[in-house]
Symmetry: C2
Subunit: 415 residues, 2 copies
């Protein structure tokens, strides 16, 4: 179908022309509301007027960045990669991906399950809600997806097909290269200039050559590794959940890249939530829950990933019989340790870029009291910087937790 | 044009239908001889009967492995990647790539300059010929091609386009994964079974877990890095030269992969030539020339690569102004050191797989005297194994030379 932009006037007619959607809603009368508060796309909630239990989400990409306006061009084909990645994630790990009712690459549109009693993790963490199944869910999702899209599981041919499907998503990768690894660490018009002016932290970052050398290493890894299929933007705003369910959404940044990138984004944003509560709510119990969540996610990820590997005898990398089990075990352990290290490095970049870069996070940039915000930023800086500078020596979930708490006590002593 | 297999009967008519070839030969009468001794493809020499100065080479891929027969399927599209890579290499480094007169991806055919007074480097090194411009030529070729096809030079978009062009060559990459990194190090029917039987070295290799763990690391790097465009099979049989000119041929394995792979293949084959003369000719002067050649290639590669980098202010990786010059210099030096290390690891795999794997090299497998061949294989094994096991600590051309000569003296003392 030829591309046209959907709106509340034409969307019902469009949906009624789609067999699978007709099957879902039957002959019901429908209404559509635009509910998107996302930066990039249009999102509609479509409801049945006759049966309040029926509702779907329609998401469409437009050929520009929605929140900036039509002159900020961004190819609508990003939706192609969201569609493709959701199909793959959903096949590998169906519990954590919304049900898809319809997708169309040429219309850059997808129609999916409406999550009506789930909240965005970022907000719920500011509100101190504990989701106790989250660590188990997200570690299952990460271990399954990362493992099953890598050459530790796929054949060479399958891996190659996967790369072919996502190689075209370079425009979104370029955004990450610029906004996660570059602009936020130098003078750049896209930065949060109000915050940079007269801010000693800004000069510290911009002149921190030791930090920047490591950032270049990590950016290089981001650009030149093809380990597995990634979500590409797995912060706490890309996760919707409730007590029993967890869903991963918004995967338009999906690409084949380094193992540690999604874990790193998650680690960064959980750590930012921890810092928020260190400075703002000072709720020691909730802070403890966050640290435990970080620890559990990483430990469970490690174990689940190794378990999946244990069940796989033949892959693009390892031919059955090539090497004895003890050697293989050593190899796998050092492999997973590298993933942890790399995640820590990526997490550090993601944390620090959120201080001065174009896109902040609510739990830090949203702190209203100037003094508290400054303190929070110092702690983000200290932990993030340590993550980046020492990522090659931070080898385990234990190391990560102790890096966070050590920085916290040092900062407490100074301020 | 629809694909058809060329032979000495139909090739002249085919060539006469091509504008550019007609322009070259005019109305001359032509004859064609099949001259290919390659493993994969058909190669014809086409000569003018009227003007002996006019001759061209026609190379065509068939949908099977020529030397094994029609039942050994191998997609003829490998020629597509040879054509594409030669065009890119020829643009970046024209002095070392044969002139192309015609290429056709659908016919899997290319017509190129005939190298009438050049020899294959492998044979000329067995014959102890010194080509004194070779180090300078090949280091120029390698530094230019590797640098200019990497994200140290290209923009993200250009790099992505490049990957798109070569991602499809996975069938050839799979051959490398199997034959360079896997089968030769385990019991496998494709191996040189006559040589394996009752050979203590074979058991040593097959049981060498320390070696295999490193091989897995290197194979993983081979499969999951997208540093730059590589020739993919740069052994001494892929180089034709004379006193003044050097040409790189046969790039059907071209792919976007790790920086060290081509340098490693070259290092491996030069070292094998050194071992040949250590055991067979014992010509100390020629041996010295080989070591000097290895040293010069690596040193010049390093310097030329850094010089090209020095001239590049903006690339996918580095935004001008991101970091000060001193930091950048450190970063670049450690970057190039990593390339050297990686090359050493790849060289070790390539050397050892040539002992027992399907494809041997003349300078080792071709040694007639059984006793000498055994001795040569021991030295290949010792140096290759050290290259693989210690690649992360072999940091410089000096380290490489001393690794070779130390292994040589140790083996001399034992045998």
């Amino acid at each position: 179908m030829k591309y046209k932009i959907l709106n509340t006037d034409n969307i019902i007619k469009y949906l009624k022309s789609i067999e699978n959607i007709k099957k879902y809603f039957g002959e019901d009368n429908l209404i559509a509301k635009e509910i998107g508060d996302g930066n990039l796309n249009f999102v509609f909630l479509v409801l049945s007027c006759d049966d309040s239990s029926k509702a779907l989400i329609v998401k469409q990409a437009v050929p520009y960045i929605r929140c900036l306006g039509e002159e900020y061009l961004l190819k609508k084909e990003r939706m192609t990669y969201e569609i493709r990645s959701l199909r793959i994630f959903g096949t590998i790990s169906p519990d954590f991906i919304t049900k898809l009712y319809f997708t169309c690459e040429s219309m850059s549109v997808l129609v999916m399950q409406y999550l009506d009693n789930h909240t965005i993790l970022r907000g719920s963490m500011i509100d101190k809600i504990k989701y106790n199944k989250f660590s188990d869910h997200i570690s299952t999702y990460l271990s399954k997806v990362l493992f099953h899209t890598s050459s530790l599981y796929l054949s060479s041919e399958q891996k190659n097909e996967l790369q072919d499907k996502f190689n075209g998503n370079n425009e979104m990768c370029k955004l990450t290269e610029d906004y996660v690894f570059t602009f936020a660490f130098m003078q750049h018009p896209s930065n949060d200039t109000a915050n940079i002016k007269n801010n000693p932290l800004a000069n510290k970052i911009f002149d921190d050559t030791k930090f920047k050398e490591k950032v270049l290493q990590l950016k290089y890894i981001f650009m030149n590794s093809t380990d597995c299929l990634l979500h590409g933007d797995l912060h706490t705003g890309s996760i919707m959940l409730n007590t029993n369910e967890t869903y991963i959404i918004d995967s338009e940044f999906a690409f084949v890249g380094p193992f540690g990138f999604d874990i790193g984004a998650l680690l960064a944003n959980l750590t930012s939530a921890y810092i928020h509560h260190t400075i703002v709510s000072k709720d020691e119990e909730y802070k403890k829950w966050i640290l435990k969540t970080i620890y559990d996610i990483l430990t469970m990820f490690k174990n689940k990933f190794l378990q999946l590997w244990q069940q796989t005898k033949d892959s693009a990398l390892i031919t059955d019989g090539f090497v004895d089990n003890t050697t293989l075990k050593n190899y796998k352990n050092s492999f997973i340790q590298n993933i942890i290290r790399q995640s820590v490095g990526f997490a550090g970049c993601e944390m620090i870029r959120r201080i001065f870069g174009a896109a902040g996070v609510d739990e830090i940039r949203g702190i209203k009291d100037k003094n508290s915000k400054d303190k929070a930023e110092i702690l983000v800086f200290d932990i993030g910087r340590k993550f980046v500078i020492e990522y090659n020596d931070i080898n385990s979930p234990e190391d990560i937790i102790s890096t966070i708490t050590k920085c916290e006590s040092l900062t407490k002593n100074i301020t």
